[in-house]
Symmetry: C2
Subunit: 288 residues, 2 copies
């Protein structure tokens, strides 16, 4: 299998998409951004034995997860995902059936969310790694950020936490795109819970130059321990702050107030008055 | 060194940039595309022992090359590079001094071309790999493509070929950005020579559904053999087609007519009437 063959096959599979002037097959993809919109862009790496194991995860699930993580980041900005680029380093064992199932998983999820694959790169390697770039848009000035929380804002999470840690995920998470868009103009700050509430809330507070007081344990997924709900990563729920009154549910998804943003001690997070150490997943420190 | 520390340091180094509403530090970067412009985007992987060796290449040169390759793709579209995102998988040996020099090389070249680093990802790995995303812009409808060559067009290359193959590159190539922009409205099709003239011209012809006849050997770099000039990759000169008369030089850079686009036999390339097999670098087939 040569690079040219794979790229040609991909170009056929990926097809066109809204706003795609030129997709796979050129030096660059050419994309048209809707008038009045800003571009959102995120990149994310998935590495074998760091983010997944091939013995325990199906190729389809790995492909879907690769895209789902990026979609979650667009959701966290209140954006609409539009395009993706995928770079793959592929070991010999993954050529053929694995690669096909991987793309099937990724492209099926992309189709579901109207995301077209418009580019990428391929290289041979001794370990599978995938780097995904997601592009989305949001109306100018309305994207949700994590550096805009203010003292007094309520802190909320969607869904129940610790599910991924308790279950060792097998399926791709559901990106909270509808909730993210609904939060535009409602939330003061927002991010997705990719690495665990304790570290992600620390990040939000650091960027916003504030601290946070949690006045309750976060809502726990079935079978998740309190520790897994506080520190477990990969839940991809939304963490947001707002001054507005929130409903208990949005389209069936639980919305729970867990604390309040406070002034001072940039990045500090407390739970019931005690300091909460950022104990979540740090890709750089913890990976093997 | 934790991921948070590195990202914070990078955010400081990378700073703002034109059109950057929000750079490193959020779920997505937020970018504003100039009115009347289309977005160009390219992604590219560099893997240790596939694209470079750490024994023979300095960290600074690897960093610069990582960016330069992407800049060359924007040049090939006649675009202006604006932003970049960088995902790095980093082995233990590369933490500290290597990583710093790598970023120095990359950011210095970025500064030179007005490119701001607006995002990325970091993971630990047992092999260094870098995935770079370059974003640029071009006036709507004016980007140069490789699927628009027509029978009768002259085929041209910039510079002299085979230099990288003959010298085993040590420095980052000079992206032909000024030439690419000048070719807007002049060239009928354009791409950069990343993998070798024979394979890249084949690609251009394949995309344009035409064939190509080379009526002379391409201009050769000092010490390059005819084979290196025809098949050697990594020169990053521009390959383009046009119906217009071209000067012998553009801003000191040689412009040489090497052949003519012809109808039929999609993707076929001949040299002095004999079929020229695509012998260049195929990242997927040849990498170890």
């Amino acid at each position: 299998v040569s690079e040219i063959d794979i790229l040609r096959r991909l170009a056929t599979l990926a097809g066109g998409g809204k706003g795609v002037v030129r997709g796979i097959g050129d030096d660059c993809a050419i994309l048209r951004i809707p008038q009045g919109a800003e571009l959102l862009i995120h990149t994310d790496m998935l590495i074998e034995d760091v983010h997944f194991r091939r013995r325990t995860h199906s190729a389809k699930a790995i492909g879907a997860k690769t895209l789902a993580r990026g979609l979650s980041d667009v959701a966290a900005m209140g954006g609409t995902p539009r395009w993706a680029l995928l770079s793959l380093a592929v070991p010999g064992w993954a050529e053929g059936r694995f690669l096909k199932a991987f793309y099937d998983g990724l492209l099926a999820l992309g189709k579901q969310h109207g995301v077209a694959l418009v580019g990428g790169d391929l290289a041979k390697s001794d370990r599978l790694s995938a780097d995904i770039v997601i592009l989305g848009t949001a109306p100018i000035g309305q994207a949700l950020r994590r550096d805009t929380a203010k003292p007094g804002d309520g802190i909320y999470v969607s869904g129940a936490l610790g599910h991924a840690a308790a279950s060792r995920w097998r399926e791709a998470p559901e990106p909270r795109l509808a909730l993210g868009r609904w939060l535009r103009g409602r939330a003061t700050a927002c991010m997705d819970l990719s690495d665990g509430l304790s570290i992600d809330l620390h990040r939000l507070c650091w960027e916003s130059k504030v601290s946070a007081g949690l006045d309750r344990e976060p809502p726990r997924a079935l079978q998740a321990t309190p520790d897994q709900a506080l520190h477990g990563g990969e839940d991809y729920e939304l963490l947001f702050t707002t001054t507005k009154k929130m409903p208990k549910r949005y389209r069936g998804l639980a919305i729970t107030r867990v604390g309040t943003i406070m002034a001072g001690s940039r990045g500090r997070v407390t739970l019931l008055g005690k300091e909460l150490k950022a104990g979540g997943w740090d890709h750089f420190r913890k990976a093997r």
